[in-house]
């Protein structure tokens, strides 16, 4: 099992970084340029790991990225990657959706602890923005997840996947829930219009302002691990999971590219506008979906 966990993390690391490279390439193509090589994120992360660190804010500051990385890794090992085989399923039997939802919030909290110690006003501002945005993001996503749990009568992801095999994909059965969850996902991926915490034109890099070198590299790695975990979670919940590597890549890529497309063409909301929007439209959609689940099954 330990071997599988390590393999999973490595797979997620590679896939996550290649996806990030792909993201940069697609972005570049839409912007009318070639963009970097697909491995650029590896280069960046190795370079950042090799940088010397001279700033010191105490151990709490260093713990922040580690807490975030822990959240990402735990999320990853609790999500079933393949639907049929036990391969890479690792620790899935020990956790269910509620644990996952809790772990997804761990990252921002770890961030908040570290950035508070750093004392950079822009970092603090970014964290405050991030936490405010999280309120908006979580509401529609949680409602969507609750809808699925009611529909499947279980909070176990494996069960939800199995149910989709017989009863049809959730994206077709519960499209409203899917739309609501996807809108939240755009925010969880830090894409426009919800990329408020790290808005460079406003608060530099927000929470990451003081992080450099190794810690930035750690943050980047956890970001790509987490991105992979989130993609897998979405396809597990709505697209019936993946039974082979090809299916996994195809489905995650489809979701990922959709998110990129949304991110690239819209600008950035202000934080209260974003919360306002998320509390209204996606929440409304999610509630409608939930009502449909409750009354029509």
């Amino acid at each position: 099992m330990i071997f599988q966990i390590i393999l999973l993390i490595m797979l997620a690391y590679v896939v996550g970084f290649i996806y990030f490279g792909l993201y940069r390439n697609i972005l570049a193509r839409i912007q009318g340029r070639y963009g970097p090589t697909i491995y650029q994120s590896f280069y960046d992360s190795i370079k950042l790991f090799s940088k010397k660190n001279t700033v010191n804010y105490g151990w709490m500051f260093y713990l922040g990225p580690i807490i975030m990385a822990t959240g990402a890794v735990l999320t990853l090992i609790l999500v079933p990657v393949f639907s049929d085989s036990d391969f890479l399923r690792s620790a899935t039997s020990q956790g269910n959706l509620f644990v996952l939802l809790y772990l997804m919030v761990l990252g921002p909290l770890g961030n908040a602890l570290a950035v508070g110690t750093g004392g950079n006003p822009f970092g603090v501002m970014g964290v405050v923005r991030g936490l405010t945005r999280l309120i908006g993001l979580e509401l529609p996503f949680y409602i969507a997840v609750v809808g699925l749990i009611i529909a499947a009568n279980s909070s176990d992801i494996v069960h939800i996947i199995d149910m989709q095999k017989t009863g049809g994909l959730n994206i077709i059965n519960h499209p409203l829930l899917f739309i609501a969850a996807m809108i939240s996902m755009v925010g969880f991926f830090g894409e426009s219009p919800f990329d408020i915490p790290g808005a460079p034109q406003e608060v530099y890099s927000g929470p990451r302002t003081e992080f450099s070198g190794k810690f930035l590299a750690l943050l980047m790695s956890q970001g790509s691990l987490f991105a992979f975990a989130k993609l897998v979670l979405i396809i597990d919940l709505f697209l019936g999971g993946a039974d082979s590597l090809w299916m996994l890549v195809l489905k995650t890529l489809a979701i990922f590219v959709t998110i990129i497309f949304i991110g690239v063409v819209y600008g950035r909301y202000k934080v209260e506008q974003a919360v306002d929007f998320l509390m209204k439209i996606p929440t409304l959609i999610a509630l409608l979906g939930l009502a449909r689940v409750i009354w029509f099954g």
Binding site: I26, V264, Y266
Partner: protein
């Protein structure tokens, strides 16, 4: 709450660019042609330079030094000096070429140079015939 349908949907048309050819000039591999009249580095025909120092006089940046060349030069050169330009001062305004009586000093469309040493920016103009 009115939803701005056009404002939501019309930006999505941007994704069409994904399938267009990029506009990038991949510089070190592909070089864009710089037009002939571009004000780049200096060239000086030593066969016709008369060493009058008009260029030195008009230069507001005091970028031009008159020095003895180590190449063959115009025997009618009055002072035996030719201009050498300090590219730590030059602003490529082309006034020096405007006032050159024999029109020997010119600007060429070659203009790309990067160096690691600041002492390496004194430029002795090449002869025109040395540039293909």
């Amino acid at each position: 709450m009115a939803i701005d349908v056009k404002g939501v949907l019309s930006p999505l048309s941007a994704i069409g660019t994904l399938f267009e050819h990029p506009r990038t000039i991949t510089y070190p591999e592909v070089k864009k042609e710089i037009p002939r009249g571009y004000r780049g580095f200096h060239i000086n025909d030593l066969e016709s330079c008369i060493g009058c120092a008009n260029c030195q006089e008009v230069c507001m940046n005091e970028a031009i030094d008159m020095v003895h060349p180590d190449r063959e030069y115009n025997p009618k050169n009055g002072s035996g000096c030719v201009p050498r330009i300090d590219y730590g001062r030059c602003c490529w305004c082309s006034l020096c070429t405007d006032v050159c009586p024999p029109s020997s000093l010119k600007l060429n469309n070659e203009c790309i140079h990067a160096d690691r040493d600041s002492n390496n920016f004194l430029y002795m103009p090449k002869n025109r015939k040395d540039i293909s």
